[in-house]
């Protein structure tokens, strides 16, 4: 089918849905939504519609990004905007739907916001919400707003117009467009995408491969998952455009096994593409021919690294190799291969749809466009956001994220996953772009952003990351295999009270050695968390080695809990919750912790409403 007819048909279907004379209900059914109970919400909505004897359509959508408020539901009555409700339960869902659909009372006090044309009294539009106001969603343009399993929704909103335009250009012109946009790889390294494509297309070899790296392994990052689950076609269209540009006929999507829903959405999307003539021979009735295969990862972080990924696709252990030759020269089965990240490809389709000039209007000179971030940790509004490059770090944490929880003082933000670093909150005016983050000692990374507060111990954080990289190290090269192990052992000693001051300089020289000697990105960046925590939080390390104290109350050997007799009200909350019967006391009498029984699990510290449990 040709694009124009495809678009017209999709648009008709989409308009039909949006203008239904019956209620339309969108429910967030990404993994976050499901983990919060979205399935029960869906059932409750179905039940309620039946009870009210009302016809209506319930549509599962992906992640709108307000994960802190999942499960989410958006209700659109005919001629009205969508009204969003969050933190739902089955009974709240029934209550709200009955009230709005039967009595026309949308319960504004329960609503989060409206979305779409028209205003509703007492409910702010979504563009006013602090979490949304500072965002610019390009990669995430459709997430949460369409049914990801319905290709017509994607097409109706401009989908595959980018591919259509690309096919009318020469491959070199497509590459030029991407170069002009300034798009840099969103997987973490930030290499200019257009230049990367140029390398592969310049090869003399006729067979080339296009690969989508969906092995999002950074703990704390879930942007790629949300994209694949919420808008798989935006990624696949990008892949097709890339394949056309570099002259590839076959491609692979390498998805980690821990993302079953994403795998299912991609599988479904490929089936629909086959039906619509968007994959295989004669794509969109042109000469372009391209096939995509799905390859599942098997639980190895290192397989996110290009050469390890290719080794895994070829059926072996995911062990990196040295470069040159680079994948663009010799990749899969020694043929030129281009590997792009999920978010990069979602940007590619947007760029071909709306133009390089439009895209490069966002961001900074060297970091054009936008970046998604998974905002998580000790912040009020956790979720999936997308902001223009150059936004200040403090705006993300405080305005979008709403600041800390439980009145705690924020301490640091970790960016870039295990390859990144911890930036202290004092640097809240830091511009979020590739260069500034690197100067501060961290990296942009794939987009994981974990917020830490006064209850996080930065030495423990460094130890945590080294535990991860050490166990994920493939073992091939000595600097990584032995270096990370040694760094980990030193950090474990420090956290258990066996550290000495000299250990800090030893950590520093080990970091330098591992960075210089490691074969691949995993080893080369593994010391980053240690280097940044030493740079910005040296006092915490010194407290650990000199005073053998952990003031954040994390390293169990270096603190204990005590109840402040001045603040304790004898409410017995700690005694009730204590799993070891260590916290004891009578009603309205001061409580005491028996240090011999206490396992430092931290429950009393969390449940005490009066702040009477102190870290000593």
């Amino acid at each position: 089918m040709d694009y124009t007819s495809m678009k017209a048909r999709a648009y008709r279907r989409w308009e039909h849905l949006i203008n239904l004379p019956q209620p339309l209900i969108f429910i967030g059914m990404g993994t976050c939504g499901r983990a919060s109970g979205a399935k029960e919400i869906l059932e409750a909505a179905k039940r309620t519609l039946k009870k009210l004897n009302t016809l209506g359509r319930i549509v599962p959508v992906g992640c709108i990004g307000m994960c802190y408020a999942e499960p989410l539901m958006a209700v659109r009555k005919p001629e009205r905007p969508f009204v969003y409700y969050g933190n739902l339960t089955s009974s709240k869902t029934e209550e709200i739907l009955t009230s709005y659909l039967l009595e026309d009372d949308p319960k504004p006090e329960r609503a989060l916001c409206t979305q779409g044309e028209g205003a509703m009294e007492g409910i702010s539009p979504i563009s006013d919400l602090p979490m949304i106001r500072y965002q610019k969603r390009i990669a995430l343009r459709n997430c949460g707003l369409i049914d990801p399993a319905n290709i017509d929704h994607y097409i109706a909103r401009g989908g595959y117009s980018g591919l259509n335009r690309a096919l009318s250009m020469q491959p070199e012109e497509v590459i030029q467009e991407i170069k002009e946009s300034g798009l840099r790889g969103r997987g973490g390294a930030g290499f200019p995408t257009g230049v990367k494509w140029e390398f592969a297309s310049g090869s003399l070899n006729r067979t080339r491969y296009m690969v989508c790296n969906a092995d999002e392994g950074d703990p704390g990052a879930f942007m790629d998952r949300s994209l694949l689950e919420g808008d798989p076609h935006s990624v696949l269209e990008g892949m097709l455009i890339g394949a056309y540009a570099i002259g590839a006929r076959e491609g692979f999507v390498y998805i980690r096994a821990e993302y079953p829903l994403a795998i299912a959405q991609i599988e479904n999307a490929l089936i629909q593409m086959t039906e619509y003539g968007l994959i295989g021979d004669g794509i969109l009735e042109s000469n372009f021919q391209f096939d995509i295969h799905i390859k599942q990862g098997a639980g190895a972080f290192v397989c996110g690294e290009e050469t390890a990924l290719m080794a895994s696709i070829q059926g072996g252990r995911g062990m990196p190799r040295s470069r040159p030759p680079f994948p663009a020269q010799e990749g899969l089965w020694k043929k030129p291969t281009t590997i792009n990240n999920v978010e990069t490809l979602a940007n590619v389709s947007a760029i071909l749809q709306r133009g390089a000039t439009w895209f490069s209007g966002y961001g900074t000179e060297k970091s054009r466009g936008t970046k998604t971030f998974s905002l998580a940790g000790k912040v009020k509004r956790t979720g999936l956001i997308e902001v223009p490059m150059g936004i200040k770090l403090g705006v993300i944490i405080n305005d979008i994220g709403g600041g800390g929880v439980d009145g705690k003082k924020l301490k640091a933000v970790q960016t870039g996953g295990p390859s990144g670093g911890c930036i202290p909150m004092t640097l809240r005016d830091l511009s979020v772009d590739y260069e500034s983050l690197a100067e501060a000692g961290s990296i942009m990374g794939s987009g994981g952003m974990v917020v830490m507060d006064e209850d996080s111990c930065m030495v423990d954080i460094a130890r945590y990351f080294l535990t991860f990289t050490q166990s994920e190290s493939c073992g091939k090269c000595m600097p990584c295999r032995l270096g990370t192990k040694q760094m980990l052992e030193i950090l474990e000693d420090i956290c258990q009270g066996r550290g000495e001051l000299e250990d800090l300089s030893l950590l520093e020289s080990l970091s330098k050695a591992v960075k210089k000697g490691a074969l691949c990105g995993l080893g080369q960046t593994a010391p980053n968390p240690v280097e940044t925590t030493l740079r910005y939080f040296r006092e915490e390390y010194e407290r650990h080695v000199l005073d053998k104290k952990c003031e954040s109350g994390v390293c169990k050997a270096l603190f204990h809990y005590e109840i402040d007799p001045e603040t304790c009200t004898g409410c017995m909350a700690c005694a009730r919750h204590c799993p070891s019967q260590a916290a004891r006391g009578e009603k309205k009498k001061i409580h005491v912790i028996d240090q011999d029984k206490c396992t430092k699990c931290g429950v009393c510290y969390q449940v005490c409403k009066f702040g009477a449990v102190m870290v000593c």
């Binding site: 993994t31 639980g299 059926g315 945590y464 493939c474 699990c601």
Partner: protein, 171 residues
């Protein structure tokens, strides 16, 4: 002589393994790049990879057994030992760690005497830790048999495991 419960189990398993080997032979061609998908398919059917399966795959792909074992042991996903009826995975990703997922794992370890990678004595559940599920906004996350549960804490985790322990019947 009457067969004991575990002998019954063993006989059933042998039949299962034979069936999976036949399925693998039928579904795959025998190219080297099929190694990981074959291992994944076998594990989905049997919940772990018995030695016979690894050797059968090596024969099918005409690879040395060492290469198959090498690949199976490299990846975290593949288990070479049988697992319990329920698989409990506690996330040890960054956001989950910051929100106290350690406490959940330690609590399970001290209360139920099952550590990461281990199976309970009554074979009712296996505890694993995973580097990240990608549901970081709902930290701490625990997955019980493919069902993702967010905003967990030690007492919620305990309740789930206690209800698993109360299940009757042979696993």
């Amino acid at each position: 002589m009457e067969r004991t419960a575990s002998q019954e189990r063993f006989g059933e398993e042998e039949k299962e393994i034979a069936r999976v080997i036949v399925d693998l032979d039928r579904e795959f061609e025998g190219r080297p790049e099929e190694l990981i998908p074959m291992l994944q398919k076998a594990q989905r059917a049997l919940n772990y990879l018995p030695e016979e399966i690894l050797l059968a795959i090596a024969r099918k792909l005409r690879l040395p057994a060492a290469k198959v074992f090498g690949t199976a042991t490299f990846y975290e996903q593949f288990r070479l030992r049988p697992v319990g009826k329920h698989i409990i995975k506690v996330c040890r990703g960054t956001a989950c760690h910051v929100k106290g997922s350690d406490r959940i794992t330690h609590d399970i370890q001290s209360r139920f005497h099952v550590g990461p990678g281990e199976t309970s004595e009554d074979r009712k559940f296996t505890l694993e830790t995973v580097a990240c599920f990608g549901s970081c906004a709902l930290a701490p996350v625990m997955v019980v048999d493919e069902s993702v549960k967010g905003r967990m804490d030690p007492s919620k985790a305990r309740k789930i495991l206690e209800s698993i322990q109360e299940e009757t019947g042979i696993s």
